[in-house]
């Protein structure tokens, strides 16, 4: 993929689509937690590999991440990531558990499994909204949850990109609890569509790749 082939117009189209998906995912999360969730307008960029680490919080930021692959007309990787503290609060809320299950290792497998389920649900609503809007087929694989360095986790999703380019199209949506300043539950929804999916995705939005 040539980086120049992707213009501002294309990024806007991606942003529009992601906004719809993220809206549905935020609603799903609100329902799960029974409290209103806010989400940012998605940030859509072509990020060079060498800047990816900074983008993920730099250093050796450790996160809890649910990862799944997208299959169908559009393929790619989807990550739902939270800091350890954030994931801990999320699981706490969800299970009404008073302990902080993901604060320190060994991490409770029940807590990780609950987090993974949240990942599944959010990804499902994100993708089904996208599918409905674009009339494309998008299926999530079952998600897997790991606790590790953000960079190491996301690099896994970059392998598909790395065969074609040194950039990744990153669609990043932040999710936060509404009206809560000191926000712990600061989640990121990271969608990395594979380069070969740019064309069908844009086409479905009525935007041409070379124009």
């Amino acid at each position: 993929m040539d980086r120049k082939a992707i213009s501002e117009k294309h990024l806007d189209a991606f942003k529009e689509t992601a906004n719809i998906g993220a809206g549905h995912a935020a609603t799903a999360l609100s329902t799960l937690l029974n409290k209103p969730m806010d989400m940012s307008v998605p940030q859509v960029d072509l990020v060079p590999f060498e800047e990816m680490n900074e983008r993920l919080g730099g250093g050796e930021a450790v996160v809890v991440a649910a990862f799944l692959q997208v299959e169908g007309d559009v393929t790619g990787s989807l990550f739902f990531m939270l800091s350890l503290d954030g994931a801990s609060s999320l699981v706490q809320e969800l299970t009404s558990n008073l302990e902080e299950p993901l604060k320190t290792p060994p991490y409770s497998s029940m807590a990780l499994s609950a987090f993974n389920e949240v990942g599944n649900i959010l990804a499902g609503s994100y993708l089904s909204a996208l599918a409905e809007f674009t009339k494309l087929r998008l299926y999530p694989t079952v998600s897997q949850t790991v606790v590790d360095m953000a960079m190491a986790i996301v690099s896994h999703g970059l392998i598909a990109h790395s065969m074609h380019s040194d950039y990744a199209l990153v669609i990043d949506t932040k999710m936060t609890e509404k009206g809560c300043d000191k926000n712990k539950m600061n989640g990121h929804f990271f969608f990395l569509p594979d380069p070969k999916s740019f064309q069908p995705l844009l086409q479905s939005l009525g935007v041409q790749l070379d124009g």
Partner: protein, 162 residues
């Protein structure tokens, strides 16, 4: 912190004492260090894929692939006057962060990267002095060009020195 040369993903850097080489967040990627024991010249590459053979040559980032990255590391060291016989290697990374699923070959990329790196070093007769590869966890590595020690950090584990 000033004496650290940062190596990004799909990147290759050379250095000399007193500098250290560091790369962060190695997942299925592999960090390769090749150093000259006599001159202390050294280089580190952070590769993502096993081979450049499937890639179009016009937009080839040589540091991204095991074969081309190792080739360049050796070439850079030779340019500095290194004898091939005094070169040594240390490698780390190649984890399999997620469980294997047959739907995608890319899931197995960690083990394939390790294999490719070892094969390429063997072809060039560069001995691997020590390694910390495989497993499930991400790694951050730092190579000291004075002591030739490679420090490996993994979450929730003590730092390893190899």
């Amino acid at each position: 912190m000033d004496n650290i040369v940062k190596v990004s993903m799909a990147d290759l850097k050379m250095t000399t004492p007193p500098m250290k080489l560091r790369t962060m967040g190695l997942g299925s990627c592999v960090g390769i260090v090749v150093y000259d024991e006599k001159t202390n010249d050294c280089g580190m590459a952070h590769i993502m894929l096993p081979t450049s053979k499937l890639c179009k040559p016009e937009n080839l980032n040589r540091a991204k692939y095991a074969d081309t990255a190792i080739h360049d590391l050796l070439l850079n060291l030779k340019k500095k006057g290194a004898q091939l016989s005094s070169l040594k290697a240390k490698i780390a990374g190649g984890a399999q962060m997620f469980a294997y699923s047959n739907s995608s070959e890319s899931m197995r990329i960690g083990p394939r990267n390790i294999e490719a790196v070892k094969e390429e070093l063997k072809i060039n007769r560069i001995p691997i002095v020590s390694e910390d590869v495989g497993g499930k966890n991400g790694r951050t590595i730092e190579f000291n060009s004075m002591t030739f020690k490679l420090e490996i950090r993994t979450i929730n584990q003590e730092m390893k020195v190899i």
